[in-house]
Amino acid sequence: MQIFAYIINKNGKADDTALELALAAKKLDSEAQVTAIVAGSGIDSVCQEVSAAYNDVWKIDHAALAYPDSEIMGKILPKLLPEKAVLLLAHEYLAMDMAPGLAIRMNSAYIADVTDIEGLDGSVAKLVRQEFSGMVSTHNTCDLSDGAVITIRPGVFATEETPAVGGSVVDKSGDIVIPETQRKYLETVEAEVGDVDISNSEVLVSVGRGIEEEDNIEIIKELAEAMGVDYSCSRPIVDAKWMEKSRQVGTSGKTVKPKVYMALGISGAFQHLGGIKGSPFIIAINKNPKAPIFQVADIGVEGDILEIIPELTEKVNELKG
């Protein structure tokens, strides 16, 4: 089988997922030839960097790709890749833009956000993914006989060691023709900076949709104040405009690395957990004992935050006298 991995790269560096995809490819088929695809403008250092972990690196260097344009890539990759290729991508912002359409244009199978690979039976892969915000997992079959596009959840194949393969870089830049596009990239607007930078907070009291109403946000602020720490939140709290965006923890918010993280009425979606680094001590309070957050938390309480939080605040205040 010929497996390809699309490498996300920025400012001359490959994303962490570059190695993860190499591992995922080996897990799918340990015999496979695995080729990294690096597209962009001025990407020699990225190609060198990833060549250690891949049999080959295909370099696609073009000024039009300085911004990783999913419309352009979506049209040139089906022409460049051999028939029935299996293409892996990390399930993040670029893949959500590009990967499903690629599968249609390549006329191949598509499966998104794979969290584990259980093996191959002939041309059928057995893959694990999650549904319902991570509350249940599913086994899936994916027929690779017409090729496939598979996106892999970032972090699940995280590794310290580089699989030593040591491939060479093949320049494919001359093999592509940049197509006309209907979508034109203008600029990137940086996220607004808030009054506190939670990415440096040592302790975070973090609240999710379990808080139910805007008025209840007050009890979170009171707890944080009593503890003398910062507060943060999950995405729905920002969507509802109950807290500013700069306090959102997660892949589309801030990356935080506290020592202690309190998850209050937060279910534990992977996009939320993806923003929590450095393995903090996690205390979760949730009224649903099956909430995924309890799988990653150190300490859990099954209960109502609206009842527990005010009492906790009172106890902390007592302690401080």
Partner: protein, 263 residues
């Protein structure tokens, strides 16, 4: 502008404990509270706001069984003008490609300038809009958190990327966009609003009405198939603190103190 919004009826995960049934063939569907997929509600609100500015109409379409009609009616109570229920036994067990095939046929029955989907549904796949766009060979953008109509043929859009940063693009109509939450504040729908649209007719279209070859959809057209459901085990799991609120709070304070959680 003629806008089609694809909406899906899903179990409300903030209201329900989702459990796997005893055979592992599905989740326990009895007694679940269903609602419209969160992302789709933002998409419908966005569509309504666009036509409020530039004129036109909003149609909502759902693939599902008869119960999906309730979701269509809810979105019509918000302000969508028309609803289409896409329902047929042949649609069951479709994979993403199958669903996009059904939606493509639906799009081709109308004359839409703009098609909106949610960024993702309960499947967590985030695939349907992108597949539909590729099948229609129309431009696409995912995770859209801003839409501005420039003129009859062009939109300016924002795409949310990592860290809350935003990519700005110009995109040509007709196009497909997947909408991210937070783009707007979806309006409240009261019982009265729902009552007002209770008797509006919602047509049901099946494979034959849409001219779809049933071999390309449903189980037979699926290249990816879900074979069973199970409860994930991610880590060792939390140590659960039990007791009444007083006991819990005392223990939490102890733990917080020992971990340096109280300053």
């Amino acid at each position: 502008m003629e806008i089609l919004v694809c909406v899906k009826r899903v179990p409300d995960t903030s209201e329900n404990e989702i459990e796997v049934n005893s055979e592992g063939s599905d989740i326990e569907r009895d007694d679940l509270v269903y609602s419209v997929n969160e992302w789709d509600n933002y998409a419908v609100e966005e569509a309504i706001q666009i036509i409020d500015k530039v004129g036109g109409s909003v149609t909502v379409a759902a693939i599902g069984d008869d119960e999906s009609e309730e979701v269509l009616r809810r979105e019509m109570a918000m302000g969508a003008d028309k609803g289409i229920l896409l329902s047929d036994e042949a649609f069951e067990k479709s994979d993403g490609r199958g669903l996009a095939t059904i939606l493509k046929a639906t799009v081709e029955k109308g004359n839409y300038d703009l098609i909106l989907t949610g960024a993702q549904s309960d499947t967590g796949a985030a695939q349907t809009g992108a597949m539909l766009a590729a099948m229609l060979d129309r431009p696409y953008a995912s995770l859209v958190n801003l839409v501005e109509v420039i003129d009859d043929s062009t939109l300016k859009i924002g795409r949310e990327i990592d860290g809350g940063n935003q990519e700005m693009h110009e995109i040509k109509l007709p196009c497909v966009l997947s909408i991210q939450t937070g783009i707007n504040e979806p309006r409240y729908v009261g019982i009265r609003g729902i009552r007002k649209v209770a008797s509006v007719e919602i047509p049901t279209l099946g494979a034959a009405d849409l001219g779809i070859d049933t071999a390309t959809i449903g189980d037979s057209g699926a290249k990816t198939k879900c074979i069973d459901y199970f409860v994930p085990v991610m880590g060792e799991g939390a140590e659960m603190i039990e007791g009444d609120t007083e006991e819990i709070v005392v223990k939490l304070v102890e733990i917080l103190k020992s971990k340096g959680g109280i300053k």
